[in-house]
Every structure is written in structure tokens, then in C-alpha cells.
């Protein structure tokens, strides 16, 4: 009885280690060839560029609601002209990278996990191994690299559209002065601290989400149920880990 409980407790630790070994296997066997570049770019299109629309729409509305709430709160102190500063800081540092990572996990992470899981269920992975092609290099690595590359770019798009949403709401609807809005944004937001702080986060989140997706997909049970479980676990684990890592990174870098 005690042994079962102990193994249940240790299982997540063992899985973390297994996942780490998978990462090492992926990066250890890396060979910089033209085919890797082509595959990575293709995957960047499939999982990155195809996520653009949802990222832009969500960014736009987040920017609008953020400025609505901020203006409401700041008005009480007569400081509603500070709205661009508040929106900018919270976006670049926190909301941009975190929300994009969560959306990316739902949009791209699931599709990667399901795709690899299904390839396994239909013996495509086995066929590849039998052709002396390493599926970790051919299937997992390009998707991992594509995620790593896509998320910072998507975060930048998210931020840009959120600022656009904030501009439309604050200036267009609430009638704030555009000069004050832009000058506060320009002088109050620092490239190194605010923008790059969020940028590093988004790289870590990109690696995290895509590693979890390829790992769960690759080790999915080759059944319909197994693929479903892999997809669900990808979303749950990456969402939780993104938020945990966000706190850890923020407390170190702030």
C-alpha cells in the first residue's frame, strides 16, 4: 500500500525526468541540414502563422478591456491620462507573453500532440523508424523549434494589436488626448526592462508549450483514447506550467 502511494508521488518526478531526457535526445541528435530548416519553416507556418488570427483578435479585445478597466480605476484619482503607461506595462511584462502562451497551447499545442499521437496510432512513426529515419529528429524536433520560434513572434503581434485596441478605445471612444497617450507610452516603457523582460518569458513559454506537446504526442498510447488523453494533458500541463514559470521568472527578473 505504502509502495503504491510512494510511486504515485514519484510519478510526476519520473515523468519530468523522462521529458528532460526526451529534450536532450531531441537536441543531442540535432544536425543542421537543409531538410531541418525546411521542415521547421513549414511547421512554423502551420502552427505559428495559422495561429495569427486568433492571437490578433484576442489581443485587440484584451487591449480594449484593459484600457476600459484602467480608465475606470484611474479616473477616481483624476489620472486617466496615465492609462497608456498602465496598459503598456501590464501588457509587455505579463499579459502579452502569458495570454499568448495560453492561447498557443490551446490552438497549436493540441494540434501538434494530436497529430503526433495519431501518426503513432497509424504506425507512421514505426514506419519511419524502419526506414532508418529517426522520428524524434524528423517529427518532434521541427515542431519544437517552430514553437520556440513562433511564440515570441506571436507575442509581439498580440502586444501590437492590444496597443491598437487600447488606442482605439482610449482615444476613439473615451476621447483621451493622443499626444499624451503616445508620449506616456514612449517615455514610460523601457525596451530592456519591459519589452525584453516579456520577450525572454515568451521564448521560455514557447519552449515549454511545444516540448510538452511533442512529448505527450510522442508517448501517447496508440489508441483513440490515448490521443485524446495526450491532447488534454498538453493543454492542462502547459497552462499550469506557464503560470508557474511566469511567477518564478518574474520574481527573479523584476
Amino acid at each position: 500500500m505504502q509502495r503504491i502511494q510512494k510511486s504515485k508521488l514519484l510519478a510526476p518526478i519520473a515523468e519530468t525526468g523522462h521529458c528532460g531526457l526526451f529534450l536532450l535526445r531531441m537536441l543531442g541528435g540535432i544536425r543542421f541540414e537543409r531538410s531541418l530548416l525546411i521542415n521547421t519553416l513549414q511547421q512554423t507556418y502551420l502552427i505559428g502563422a495559422r495561429s495569427l488570427v486568433i492571437i490578433m483578435i484576442c489581443g485587440f479585445f484584451v487591449g480594449m478591456v484593459l484600457s476600459l478597466q484602467s480608465i475606470n480605476a484611474l479616473q477616481q484619482f483624476g489620472a486617466s491620462d496615465q492609462v497608456s503607461l498602465l496598459v503598456g506595462k501590464s501588457l509587455f511584462r505579463e499579459l502579452g507573453p502569458v495570454l499568448t502562451a495560453l492561447l498557443f497551447a490551446g490552438r497549436a499545442g493540441t494540434s501538434v500532440a494530436a497529430e503526433i499521437g495519431l501518426m503513432k496510432a497509424t504506425s507512421q512513426i514505426e514506419a519511419m523508424e524502419l526506414m532508418a529515419i529517426d522520428p524524434v529528429q524528423r517529427i518532434a524536433l521541427p515542431r519544437f523549434l517552430a514553437g520556440l520560434l513562433s511564440l515570441p513572434l506571436l507575442t509581439a503581434m498580440f502586444n501590437a494589436f492590444a496597443i491598437l485596441g487600447a488606442v482605439m478605445f482610449s482615444i476613439g471612444v473615451m476621447g483621451l488626448d493622443p499626444g499624451i497617450f503616445w508620449s506616456k507610452l514612449q517615455t514610460g516603457i523601457y525596451f530592456g526592462k519591459d519589452f525584453m523582460g516579456g520577450f525572454w518569458k515568451s521564448i521560455v513559454f514557447g519552449g515549454l508549450v511545444s516540448l510538452i506537446a511533442v512529448y505527450f504526442g510522442y508517448y501517447a498510447k496508440p489508441t483513440g483514447e490515448g490521443v485524446g488523453t495526450a491532447t488534454t494533458r498538453t493543454v492542462v500541463m502547459s497552462s499550469v506550467l506557464v503560470l508557474i514559470f511566469d511567477f518564478i521568472m518574474t520574481s527573479f527578473f523584476i
Binding site: S35, M119, T122, S123, Q124, E126, A127, M128, E129, L130, M131, A132, I133, D134, R138
Partner: protein
């Protein structure tokens, strides 16, 4: 069990007897707990990961359902081994893929996606992919399962043709007695995880052993039980 170069050999037996396991042992996906497997004079289980991958370039495998890559066209499916393992220019790849595709009678399908192929066509594309690197050995896992009689005979013919034209050694795992009688040079029959008989199909039809007779003629009554047995099977037939 010996499989001579250049021949078409079948490994037959009822489902679940370990036929596919033998293929996996030959291709090095599984390691034997006892005994040894030599391919081209090399002990498979002693090979390192890299050597194993190197040796697999000489082995083509046709898996049970074909296992075509669903995200690639027929052309790209067949071209994949060439792109991964050779430095051929694009024209040479194109030429080789199209000639292989023609030899399995599917010229003109190169731009189709695997999901728009019929079962028999998919199996033929998989055959073309398995032999594109001109391997020495081709392993077939149930190449006839789930096909209509015409497609079965076509695959049958193609296996024989490809084998003789390219000088291959073909190992076929199957339980389709009728098709195998037409195709293979030599047969091994397994039952209850044991080799119970071997010989040419004609010899085996005359075989006196009750288990062999039961399998070859598809009888319900006989030493091979169709009931699920947890421990050792009751089949005790042993040819040697």
C-alpha cells in the same frame, strides 16, 4: 529457421502466434530473450543504435496497413527514403520515384494524398516505398489482409515480380494459405509459439501432422484450439 538469399519465404500460422514478432526481431525493433538472429551475417541484437539504422537501409518493410505518411502526397511518400538517405538531385529522385510507381501500376497517382487511395492502391504505394532504396531484404507484414481477391492477386504478383527483378529476399508474414501457395518458395508454419512445420507449399499440403493439416485446410477441429488459453497451449506437435 534459415531464409536463403533470393527466395520468397512465408511465415504462417494462426493469429497471435508470434509471426509479427519474428519480423520485429529481424528488423531489430525487439531483442530476443533467447537465441540469435543474423541478417546478412550480422547479429542483429548486438548492433548499436547507429549500426542498426545503417543496416535498416538494406531492409524494406511493408507494415500491416501500409502506414503511409498521411500528410504527404504519394510522390513524397515514396521519395522520403531517398531524400533522407541519398544526395540525389531532384530530377534523379523524380525519375526513380516515377519508375517505381509505374512498376506497381500506379502511374499518374503521384499527386494524390494517401486518404484518397483504395486499400489495395495504398498497399502498392507502400510496396514502392519499401523497395525505393533497392534493399536486399523486404519484410511484409500481412500484405494481403483486408484486400479484395483481385487486389490480393495483384499484390501477390507484384511481390514475386519485384523479388525476382531486383534480386531481393522476401519474408512474408501471413495467414492467407491460398495466396501463399501460389507465391512462395518455402514456408514455415508456427503454432503455439513453436515452429511446427517447414517445406514448400506443395509438401505442406501433404503433411501428415494434424496441426499442420488443420491450419492448411482451415478446420475447426484439431490440436490448435480456438479458445483463449492463458498458460501454455495444448498444442504439442513438433516436427523435429
Amino acid at each position: 529457421m534459415d531464409i536463403p538469399r533470393g527466395s520468397v519465404v512465408a511465415i504462417m500460422g494462426p493469429s497471435g502466434v508470434g509471426k509479427t514478432t519474428i519480423l520485429r526481431l529481424i528488423s531489430g525493433q525487439l531483442h530476443p530473450s533467447m537465441g540469435s538472429i543474423e541478417v546478412n551475417g550480422k547479429e542483429v541484437s548486438s548492433l548499436s543504435h547507429r549500426q542498426l539504422y545503417e543496416s535498416r537501409k538494406d531492409i524494406g518493410v511493408l507494415l500491416q496497413n501500409g502506414a503511409l505518411f498521411t500528410d504527404l502526397t504519394v510522390f513524397e511518400n515514396i521519395a522520403t527514403p531517398l531524400r533522407e538517405h541519398t544526395d540525389l538531385p531532384e530530377e534523379a529522385i523524380r525519375e526513380r520515384v516515377l519508375s517505381k510507381l509505374e512498376s506497381v501500376g500506379l502511374k499518374g497517382t503521384e499527386e494524390l494524398m494517401p486518404h484518397s487511395l483504395s486499400g489495395g492502391m495504398a498497399r502498392r504505394v507502400a510496396l514502392a516505398r519499401a523497395v525505393i532504396l533497392n534493399p536486399k531484404i523486404v519484410l511484409f507484414d500481412e500484405p494481403m489482409t483486408g484486400l479484395d481477391p483481385i487486389a490480393k492477386s495483384t499484390i501477390n504478383l507484384l511481390i514475386r515480380e519485384t523479388n525476382d527483378r531486383l534480386g531481393l529476399t522476401s519474408v512474408i508474414v501471413t495467414h492467407d494459405v491460398e495466396q501463399m501457395n501460389k507465391l512462395v518458395d518455402y514456408c514455415y508454419i508456427l503454432a503455439a509459439a513453436k515452429l511446427i512445420a517447414e517445406g514448400s507449399p506443395q509438401d505442406l499440403m501433404q503433411f501428415k501432422d494434424p496441426a499442420v493439416d488443420q491450419f492448411m485446410n482451415g478446420r475447426v477441429e484439431g490440436p490448435i484450439s480456438f479458445k483463449y488459453q492463458n498458460s501454455k497451449s495444448s498444442t504439442t506437435a513438433n516436427p523435429s
